[in-house]
């Protein structure tokens, strides 16, 4: 069990880990093409790149999940063979994945013990808890070893994962998009914790595709694109967001989108005093009322699990509710999903593969999914295959969905392409209202830009858009109005939001005035 062995100054040159000339190929792709990467002891080295750039492959190589075709990994200067995650942790490398590997019904201490060879027979939880406490205190992380996982917030669970890796002896931590699930205040707290870790001579690889965060936390930045390193070990002082974005996508990205002024029209969506239960039968919406006008984007800002997913399901007919959901004067609250579709409600669901598409069916089948009942695709009881094909062809061209053929099953599409397919389908139906939930989650900078543009174009055409997102920057860039939801209620509305409102919005997302004095810390996220 590795304990802290005295701190080394952060500027010291010894390398914690070094990857030299890593090559890893999969059928049809070279995911890592002679990649070099190094991490100094006590630094935070950010690895930046689009989806599919090869970040995850490289990290999986370092974590022992993949074996490289070529190249060498050195830990503390010595070459190592990492055949499994067990080898990696023995070499002091621990990875915290985006999806936590915790057992909800068990305590923190029990989860920390998972994967260790101890206890041999008798479980002395009290002693383990004390050991965890002392390790955590040494490093400056707050954990409660006897708490059960399900009682903890996402941020606290993430801390448990980190403590678990440290307890297993990790001196090098790989964090895979750790902020993707966090609220701004939680992010600020994570960043403080990471700093404490590096002060205790731990070294961190921080994977992200959020430029602002990377610039604020990293000591050095490495950028990958298409399996190669495009910028190695940049100091954050010398670079701008535009620089980084260009190296990530290989072309300059317009960060601020052109927004034309659209005068909001009539009320399209009116949600009146809606209540609904979540999947576990607990109240998820407690009297929500809101309106969206034609030509307006209304953003919903909320930390995951505050009712925003259920709100989208209620409006699109997928979840039963009480109250009224009126679209263009027609109450569709009681109706089936078809009532919503026929009222012109488009829906970009949160779960693209699980709800928004049928993975093993073709592009054609997926592109006609919400309009197959209409002419000319439907003719009596028959579906016109050639009409469906030509519709799909048009959409594929217009929305630049790259796929080998129209008959390809959509499960092999990249995340960005699948999302373009879903948007193409929903926007092409010329919706009166589009409910878009996390439309850019997990996508890379280039894809996000394209999708933002599609939403703005739709707004200009006079559709009402309800945008539900956990990305505050996305809401600020797109929304005419932001509503904050907390515990199933709309708690605040911000008209014409700007970057100056980010702290206030973040605070409301955490439950309002009482929620920690995090407002000043949240500025690191900007």
């Amino acid at each position: 069990m590795a304990g802290p062995q005295g701190t080394q100054p952060r500027t010291s040159t010894p390398l914690a880990i070094e990857a030299v000339g890593i090559v890893k190929s999969f059928p049809g792709v070279i995911a890592n093409d002679h990649v070099d990467f190094d991490l100094r002891v006590g630094e935070i080295h950010a690895l930046l790149g689009e989806n599919g750039a090869g970040k995850s492959t490289l990290m999986n190589v370092l974590a022992g999940l993949y074996r490289p075709d070529e190249g060498e990994i050195r830990v503390g200067g010595e070459p190592v063979q990492l055949r499994s995650p067990r080898d990696a942790i023995a070499a002091g490398i621990g990875m915290v994945h985006q999806h936590f590997a915790l057992v909800p019904s068990q305590t923190v201490a029990e989860n920390v013990l998972l994967g260790l060879d101890r206890p041999r027979f008798r479980l002395d939880l009290k002693r383990t808890e004390a050991e965890i406490m002392s390790l955590a205190t040494d490093i400056g992380l707050r954990v409660e070893p006897s708490a059960r996982i399900w009682q903890l917030s996402i941020g606290e669970q993430q801390r448990v994962e980190i403590v678990k890796m440290l307890f297993h002896g990790a001196r090098i931590l790989i964090l895979d998009e750790p902020t993707a699930v966090l609220a701004p205040q939680e992010t600020a707290e994570l960043f403080e914790n990471l700093r404490a870790l590096t002060d205790a001579a731990r070294s961190i690889i921080f994977i992200s595709h959020k430029l602002g965060e990377v610039l604020s936390i990293a000591d050095r930045i490495t950028v990958m694109r298409a399996g190669k390193v495009t910028a190695a070990g940049l100091e954050p002082e010398g670079v701008t967001r535009a620089d980084l974005a260009r190296r990530m996508v290989g072309r300059p990205v317009l960060e601020s989108l052109e927004r034309t002024k659209v005068e909001p029209g009539a009320v399209v969506l009116s949600v009146e005093d809606v209540t609904a239960l979540n999947d576990r039968g607990l109240p998820a919406l407690r009297g929500v009322s809101l309106q969206v006008h034609a030509g307006e984007i209304v953003g919903i800002a909320a930390v995951a699990g505050n009712g925003q997913s259920e709100l989208a399901q209620v409006i699109t007919g997928l979840r039963a509710c009480t109250g009224r959901v009126v679209v263009d004067g027609r109450d569709i609250a009681a109706g089936p999903v078809r009532a919503a579709i026929e009222s012109g409600v488009g829906h970009v669901p949160e779960d693209r593969a699980g709800v928004g598409s049928a993975p093993n069916l073709s592009l054609i089948d997926n592109l006609i999914m919400r309009r197959f009942r209409q002419q000319p695709i439907t003719r009596g009881p028959f579906l016109d295959a050639s009409a469906a094909r030509s519709k799909a062809q048009t959409l594929q061209g217009a929305y630049e969905i790259s796929a080998p053929t129209l008959d390809t099953p959509v499960r092999i599409l990249s995340g960005g392409n699948l999302q373009r397919l879903i948007l193409a389908r929903e926007i092409d139906a010329a919706p009166r209202l589009l409910v878009a939930v996390q439309p850019t989650r997990g996508l890379d900078v280039g894809a996000i830009e394209g999708i933002h543009q599609l939403l703005l174009d739709l707004r200009e055409q006079g559709a009402a858009i309800l945008l539900i997102s956990e990305e505050l920057e996305e809401l600020l860039a797109l929304a005419d109005r932001i509503l904050v939801m907390y515990e199933g209620q709309v708690t605040t509305a911000v008209e014409r939001p700007s970057a100056a409102d980010i702290d206030a919005i973040g605070l409301h997302m955490m439950g309002g005035e009482g929620a920690d004095s995090a407002i000043d810390r949240a500025s690191t996220v900007g």
């Binding site: 999903v337 579709i341 928004g356 028959f382």
Partner: protein, 366 residues
């Protein structure tokens, strides 16, 4: 040297067909080894099976008679399986269909002396209704309460058999024997041999009108699945029920309707068997058609026309297998075929790479 499996993105269509054929060949080879082991001559045995199933028009006709109930029950399973509804109850639905058809002349529901063109359609409707009603039970339980259909359909098979036995041993028994009296001629499906007076070559051929029902059902199902809105909706539900709901499809209704249609097809198979072959009710009218149907649906990869091909293969195995052994070897070969098919699926989803690991040359771990 190591063998690795790598996932494939997509599998070409020819590979499916080739793997299915290869699975059958491998299964027959394994069967041959076993035959040789127990002292038989596998080559002679297989030649004999082939000869006994396809050797002349007489045995070919018998093979088709055996294939007829298999096609209908095979379609019943294939339809349900496409929606990932695991209807293991075609056997029970078959028995109920036979019972329902028999009820028309045994109760009797139609007075004696009605012409065949009234009696036979009435028996078809009764058989399909009885089979469909039997399948409605697991259907509604699944749709409304989420009850596992594998358990319910399997258990209902035993109840169906007991139900049939009650009538055959009791109210409808012929002189205390375990069977009813023979159906009147107007309740018999026409057979080829019935036309021997006009066309002498048909003499002795027992292929009956049920085969036409089976082929018509195949054609309808093929068109519905590939060309219509219902086929598309079923495809969506089968691949991702949540996406289907999102597309505005009433999934619960489909579950019930598809179960009922599946049961009706199996029920029609039962009607066709008693009206076309047995001409009376017994408790032993099925040598497990409803279970063989599961293998057939799988072998056909749920394609309606492929169900016909697979049914003829299995019809031949059932018929000609008896020439080797009344039971045992033919059933064993059926089982081995299913086993090989399921195993071959791995090759459909993964490609095999044989190679030397790159790491073997690298240095030892520290």
């Amino acid at each position: 040297m190591i063998v690795r499996l790598e996932p494939r993105a997509t599998a070409p269509r020819w590979l499916q067909a080739a793997l299915t054929l290869a699975a059958i060949v491998v299964a027959l080879a394994i069967g041959a080894v076993i035959l040789a082991f127990v002292g038989g001559d596998p080559v002679r045995a297989y030649l004999h099976i082939f000869d006994a199933a396809f050797g002349d028009i007489g045995v070919l006709s018998d093979t088709l008679v055996k294939a007829t109930p298999l096609i209908l029950t095979g379609l019943a399973c294939a339809l349900a399986f496409r929606m990932r509804l695991w209807n293991i109850g075609a056997e029970g639905q078959f028995l109920l269909g036979a019972w329902g058809a028999g009820a028309i002349v045994l109760v009797p529901i139609l007075p004696a002396g009605m012409p065949a063109f009234v009696v036979i359609p009435a028996m078809m409707v009764a058989g399909a209704l009885a089979g469909g009603a039997w399948a409605f039970i697991p259907g509604i339980l699944k749709a409304r309460l989420g009850v596992n259909e594998i358990i319910t359909t399997l258990m209902l098979n035993y109840i169906a058999l007991a139900w049939l036995q009650f009538w055959v041993f009791g109210p409808w028994s012929e002189g205390g024997f375990q069977q009813t009296g023979p159906f009147p001629r107007e309740a018999w499906l026409p057979r080829l041999t019935d036309f021997a007076a006009q066309i002498p070559v048909l003499a002795g051929l027992t292929t009956h009108l049920g085969l036409v029902f089976a082929l018509v059902a195949t054609a309808i199902m093929s068109v519905v699945l590939s060309r219509t809105r219902w086929g598309y909706e079923m495809r969506l539900i089968g691949d991702n029920a949540r996406a289907a709901r999102y597309a505005g499809i009433n999934v619960a209704k489909y579950v019930i309707v598809v179960f009922v249609i599946s049961g009706a097809l199996a029920g029609l198979a039962g009607m066709s068997e008693v009206s076309g072959v047995v001409h009376r009710l017994q408790d032993r009218i099925s040598p497990g058609y409803g279970f063989t149907a599961i293998i057939i649906a799988y072998l056909a990869r749920l394609g309606p026309w492929r169900v016909v091909l697979a049914s003829i293969l299995f019809g031949a195995l059932i018929l000609a297998g008896r020439e080797i052994q009344p039971s045992g070897v033919p059933a064993m070969i059926q089982g081995i075929i299913l086993f090989c098919l399921i195993a071959s699926d791995v090759l459909l989803r993964y490609r095999v790479r044989v190679g030397r690991p790159a790491e073997a040359t690298a240095t030892a771990p520290t």
